[in-house]
Symmetry: D2
């Protein structure tokens, strides 16, 4: 079974952020926009820079109580679990990319608290060939800066993410959940829970 990442940047095909020209060529007015053809070509030649976020709920003392996992329908209609994930665009800061993808995947009322420091808690490397690392994406070589992001509001996923499910840290690291996750991201969730000091 081909395990694919979610569409890397769901908003790219949205109206408000038309990175892809409808005619398959890049918009001449912005060299940072790529046609679908050009992006597909670049994916065969260069590592793509991604950001990923594990959404969490915290109690009043900052202790994490719940881990948020997205449920998403793949293009083939299969249901897969994943985390917030997407590409960094040309000219965009990592912080802005992280904010944009959090809003895309969790909705405008999630009120995420982005990290103050630029250092990710880990770096995940996705290769098209399975087995090179814990992570796999048959479409591209992607390198992802992974962050843990408390959210304080209400999550209403947009686009192809259907819902956010909240799990206890114990449930989040279970084999059952890991088996449902796309591209090996169960390992990323476990790393996040371990980083929080909540693995036993």
């Amino acid at each position: 079974m081909a395990v694919r990442t979610p569409d890397p940047d769901p908003s790219d095909s949205g109206d408000e952020l038309p990175e892809f020209g409808s005619d398959g060529v890049s918009d001449a007015s912005n060299p940072g926009w790529l046609s679908e053809f050009e992006l597909a070509e670049a994916r065969r030649r260069l590592p793509m820079l991604y950001v990923e976020a594990v959404p969490v709920r915290t109690d009043g003392s900052g202790q994490v109580t719940d881990i948020g996992i997205l449920l998403r329908a793949t293009p083939l209609g299969e249901m897969k679990r994943t985390i917030v994930s997407g590409r960094v665009r040309f000219g965009e800061t990592v912080r802005d990319a992280l904010f944009r993808h959090l809003e895309n995947d969790l909705g405008p009322m999630a009120f995420p608290l982005l990290p103050a420091s630029p250092a990710p808690f880990t770096v995940a490397e996705y290769f098209p060939l399975p087995g090179v690392s814990a992570f796999h994406d048959d479409r591209q070589h992607a390198v992802s800066l992974a962050f843990i992001v408390p959210v304080t509001g209400t999550c209403e996923p947009r686009q192809d993410a259907l819902e956010v499910t909240w799990f206890s840290p114990e449930e989040a690291v279970s084999d059952a959940l890991a088996a449902e996750m796309e591209g090996g991201r169960g390992a990323l969730v476990r790393q996040a829970v371990a980083h929080l000091g909540l693995i036993r």
Copy 2:
């Protein structure tokens, strides 16, 4: 001039948290409470575990805009600048100690966002003998877990902290400010600003 840390645990002498018995002996009902004499003895024999916090303000994207520095009167009436700092008690979690000292030093309406992860951004070692490390406390050997803590509310210092002053990251790392800070904590503020990616 003797540079001293602030009283390590201002609340210890407060009514609501009577760690020190008024008669100078420990409260028999709680072996974790120390008399002033016993605490003074322990300070000559054991490293004391501290937590410290650099309070920060952030913008909507989590980017730090301001660094909070406390102004405090020393027992000798001298004005010194410092950060949130205090001892971890017997049986108390690091998270609870951090929360308690933030509330003591910034007031109950500061609404600090404590870090989700237990790992400090750095560890500061204070020695009674100057020059062993960047940090100095002529009263004790203290080892401090240092955190960066966004605060979202209003700071109203209690007890001996007189006020919180907000500085830009550039001002916070200036030589002038560092010279006013207790025990070498100017170095700790610089490490915090560097950790935030805001040093130039």
Copy 3:
């Protein structure tokens, strides 16, 4: 069954590092040395500062290939697994304490590569009452700065540590190994493996 930490500072009772006076009182020439009675008293009143190290082997590119676990006989003759662990003394830097305990537990030919940065990968909190955190020590409240330390030489444990066993990262996070580890340190090993990006 009482789960105990290893003796926190095996060298303290050794000939070469006589922290405890043989007569049970502290050595007047060094106020940082504690009698056994005084140390026992302090343990009932103050959190003890510890350092811990997960020894690892790496390949030529720095990738961790093996995790080192100590086998130790408890005072009751029970065999338990643990990691390098010990107390920070008065006046001692964290780095020196880490080096001292690595040498005590792995021998003088282990050639450990101590971390360049003072920040631990995590902080483990041991409480006398089980269940407060993942970690437990029925003798004391200890707060431990945990580091991952590559060793390049030959490990020959001294004193009560009987041997070092090298496990693959997969084996090191197994439930079977975690069940054999003292004081909940299986969780600490899992956090270390996760920090290394090697958990799946």
Copy 4:
């Protein structure tokens, strides 16, 4: 004055690693190789993934004593200071890229000790437009994972890096040195020294 990064991947034009076809078109046998034209195009459209390393010398206890800074001649014959820096190739792990650039810039006898963990100590973002961040590269948008790497052997820079100069941590954070460094990397060196706990 245009401040440019060093050629991002000096080895790309070397004989042993012919990423660029001599005729300006990509090698059909490896779609991950880019022609110079294609790479130039990609640089106008996508953020480039980089790794950077601050080489350090340590003493026997792992404490950093010296910071290594490269001296390099720009294509215009200007002398600039920099650190180890280069692009991650398609299909290459971050660890392999880091190792390759360390060898390129420090020579085969440097014997670097690569970090065990995949998390960088910071992420540096280089934008073609100055002022967006502390870092600037007029040729591209590059996002760099920055590591601190102890080297134990002899550094003999190859290619366009002329020499490695070792500075004390105090010298390494001086304004004079920062002014000589390419693309704002003085800030990156300061962040590294701060991360090591060596800034005062």
